[in-house]
Amino acid sequence: MLTILFDGVAYGMLLFVLACGLSVTLGLMNFVNLAHGAFAMAGGYAAAVLMNRYGVPFLATLPAAFAFSAVLGVILERTLYRRLYGASRLDQVLFTIGLVFMAMPIANYFLGDQPRPVRVPAFLSGRFEFAGIGIGVYRLFIIAVCGAIAGALQSFLIGTRFGAQLRPAVDDRRVASGLGIDVDRLFAITFAVGCGLAGLGGALAADIVGGIDPSFPVKFMVSFLIVVAIGGSNGILGALLGALLLGVLDVAGKYYVPSIGAFIIYAVMVATLIIRPHGLLSRGSGR
């Protein structure tokens, strides 16, 4: 029972790192990026290729995955995404679905359709018992890394000048740029960090989901969207709450009632949106 809770929390933390970039672009920058999973896939592939082809150790591939996806994100943001900030939701959905459709064959062309593993080193694998709970070392590692990231992001957004500039830039772009805030640069950096985190998440997730393959962006797109939809647009905290809820429910549901599979998480999402159309923690809801 507690073991399942632990696994669920680990999965939720992983989902958080994967999806928090989407939560930021969607919640803060108001952009529906269905191609977010493609950046996670890029990071996962970067880690897998570095490790399998060049023998880079696991811990060193994680920052590389972050950097690769962040650079990719900045390039695409400057060239393509930027043009669509003011566009309608439908245009954004179509554009990013198009990007996903392009990303999958590109990955398939260069890297093949077999899953690429990211092997976890010996000191991070294995399990131990603690107070009757079976704890996987790698899952504990994920919780620690992702928890640290969540804390860092939150304090960064609340406590720094950058965060203080980002929030007004989101609320009213024109006024913010009128006050001398370089909104373009802010958005580019924010987008890049979100993509980088997705890449890091992709590298971390590779071992748990059985390797990275070209269908990754589609397989996890729905999960990301659910995290953001449940959590609401409150940026970091909302995404964290949504991801933990989804992670625990998904793992527990698959363990206790495998026959109805993912039914529970979809039902919870629809129910949440019926009760709170803007998610659990939405901005302007008085919280």
């Binding site: 554009f95 198009g98 999958m104 062309y109 599979g261 979809y266 629809v270 949106l273």
Partner: protein, 336 residues
């Protein structure tokens, strides 16, 4: 002449718009001719017709009512399973099965529509997507009725007792689909030109103002969503009946995404867009996937990205110069 147009001028303008244009008659006759001219491709033509019907249902929701949906597959799937389960329960008369399956899908649409009246576009995207994924899990879990991952295979009586629509009667199947599509298209055409359809248009253009004019937005949006759901159900039921198969992928996300792409390619908000887009999309997919079976998605994605970057309204205006301003407002307005 005063600033306000006389009532006669308005109704004359609307009547002129409602009139059949020669190109429309040619369009429908061309499809009939095509089915008889190349019976060997009847299977592909049938697929295009049914995808067109599915896209037509989304056009009613997105193009006319302005509701962004990623879950039209929910109703498509309910129609398909409805027709399949009815046939396996002994109701092997195709037309009756089609009608009942569509009505079930329509009822589901009416039941879920109130969920779409609140929240933002993102909420609507997620609720519609969530409902179709939920139904997929329900179908998977209730394997005693739906066959689970194996799917259902169904056998039907000939239509009207005369025309078999099984694998040996592909031309009949395409004609059957065409007749149903034509009838439903006529109903939709009449519907969007009726006072009801015009009021939906008004709600999409300016909900606040139409409310001030005494148009109840919520009830009308629920109604059009229910009608569109019945259309999607009819498309699903026809796919089940003419292919003899229903499988879990009717609820898949890619089905909702594909139909959205078809509609966008063909153009939103003038009914024919779905049919043209479906023909273009399936022909493209068929052509490209036989050339590069592994990478065909790339060649669907690339034009889509270019389409959005160039601007859908600009391309629409390019194709319809004569009605440039109006076309742009229609196509652009579909996303509002």
């Amino acid at each position: 002449m005063s600033v306000a147009l006389p009532a006669g001028a308005v109704s004359a303008h609307l009547n002129r718009k409602a009139r059949w244009r020669p190109i429309e008659i040619v369009f429908w006759l061309a499809i009939v001719a095509l089915i008889f001219a190349v019976p060997s491709r009847a299977l592909l033509i049938n697929e295009i017709l049914l995808a067109g019907l599915f896209a037509l249902s989304l056009d009613l929701v997105l193009g006319y009512a302005g509701i962004v949906s990623l879950g039209q597959a929910a109703f498509f799937g309910v129609g398909a399973y409805g027709a399949g389960i009815l046939a396996n329960a002994g109701l092997t008369e195709p037309i009756l099965g089609l009608v009942i399956a569509s009505l079930i899908a329509g009822a589901l649409g009416l039941a879920t529509a109130p969920l779409l009246l609140r929240g933002s576009d993102l909420t609507r995207l997620m609720v519609t997507l969530g409902i179709s994924l939920l139904l997929g899990e329900v179908a998977n879990a209730n394997a005693w009725a739906t066959g689970g991952t194996d799917g259902l295979s169904i056998a039907l009586k000939p239509v009207l007792g005369l025309f078999p629509i099984d694998f040996n009667g592909q031309r009949n199947a395409a004609l059957y689909s065409l007749i149903v599509l034509f009838i439903l298209f006529m109903v939709a055409r009449r519907l969007v030109q009726s006072p009801f359809g015009l009021s939906i248009h008004a709600i999409r253009e300016n909900r606040l103002r139409s409310g001030a004019l005494g148009v109840s937005a919520s009830a009308r949006l629920v109604a059009i969503y229910g009608i569109a759901a019945a259309y999607a159900g009819a498309a699903g039921a026809l796919v089940a009946q003419t292919t003899g198969l229903v499988s879990l992928d009717v609820f898949d996300f890619h089905r909702s995404a594909d139909v959205l792409l078809m509609l966008i390619i063909g153009g939103v908000g003038y009914l024919y867009g779905g049919l043209i887009g479906a023909a273009f999309f399936i022909a493209l997919r068929d052509g490209v996937s036989s050339a590069t079976p592994e990478y065909w998605e790339f060649w669907i994605g690339l034009p889509l990205v270019v389409l959005v970057l160039v601007g859908r309204d600009r391309i629409g205006a390019f194709f319809a110069k004569a009605i440039a301003t109006r076309g742009a407002s229609l196509i652009g307005g579909g996303a509002a």
